[in-house]
Symmetry: C2
Subunit: 204 residues, 2 copies
């Protein structure tokens, strides 16, 4: 990579070209050195652009990092719909945990650390927080709730249940182990999570 800042001298350059270069440079920094490395200074010099340009287009370095992450990594994770909510959930949550923990193309220890960094910075960067919610967490929550609604209509879930809570008890539990790592995050954990959420913990 090393993204040699191909300096073209001064003057205006095509906007799309500049944005593309900046986002790629930001994604490179984010995936290789973590969120702390994504500063306006470093991204600008890596992309061969001026800091002024970045300040014009992105409200904070965190927001830039978030956009770079979502643009350069396809996290579709289609929701399977076989008609069996337990099987679908298990498959979905397992692949989610695998994505977080196992290595991908460009990260050693999985996307988990990058995602954790973004969520971490989001706690003190409102712009990043908004971007994260809009482009990542809210759509995913909606997708899960939609799947739950279909399952409830099929009679697989209790009628009176709050589906948003179910989302928190599955994905939120995973994020908990990602962000507050006092217990391991494994695929077996994901499987047990689904069963626990569906069957409950109380003795029959």
């Amino acid at each position: 990579m090393s993204e040699t800042a191909q300096r073209r001298g001064r003057g205006r350059r095509p906007a799309g070209e500049v944005r593309e270069g900046v986002l790629r440079a930001a994604a490179d920094l984010l995936l290789s050195e973590g969120i702390k490395a994504v500063t306006f200074d470093r991204v600008a010099s890596a992309a061969g652009s001026s800091k002024m340009t970045l300040y014009k287009w992105w409200p904070s370095a965190g927001a830039l990092a978030a956009e770079a992450y979502f643009a350069h990594s396809e996290h579709q994770l289609e929701f399977p719909d076989t008609g069996d909510i337990r099987a679908d959930l298990t498959a979905q949550l397992r692949s989610f945990v695998r994505l977080l923990t196992h290595e991908g193309e460009r990260t050693r220890e999985g996307t988990g650390s990058v995602l954790a960094g973004l969520i971490g910075v989001a706690q003190t960067d409102p712009e990043l927080s908004a971007a994260f919610s809009e482009h990542y967490s809210a759509p995913r929550r909606a997708l899960a709730v939609a799947a739950f609604e279909k399952a409830r209509d099929r009679g697989q879930l209790r009628a009176g249940i709050d589906l948003g809570i179910l989302v928190d008890q599955l994905w939120g539990a995973c994020y908990n182990r990602l962000l507050i790592p006092d217990a391991p995050l494994t695929e077996d954990y994901a499987v047990a999570l689904v069963n626990n959420a569906l069957d409950g913990a109380a003795a029959r």
Copy 2:
């Protein structure tokens, strides 16, 4: 407060006195301006101490913030033990949510934002992460697991269940709404959470 840096001139000062002043200044900054305000520079000048001293005693500003937080806020939250796990859990989780969302003595919007800030910075500060786990999250997890074990021995929980998972599905779900606020964190939510975790979501 305003903690006028009572300068005593140069020279050595009683260690305990210095530590006390530094921790109080750090807690003041943390509670009034948030985690971003807790820098070695600002804490040192607010406490009337030298930066050198802080560097000698704390590995990072985040670690200092964590110690200040845990030292100057009593978060006992004793686990009630009435023999009814559902009632105990509900009470416990409700007061937890209340602590996070309702205002306390010194914070406007509850301890939640401070805690979120600490967890956020912990994602990129290993020293803070370790301190947080040691002094906060791990002990609390252990306390909850112990309560679950007693309930299981009383026959209120299924025998084969993983108690760690139950912790994530209750407190982890709350942390999820605290850190990724796409859905509200309320006391009613806490109550529903307990029922959902105990009874399960699957149709009977």
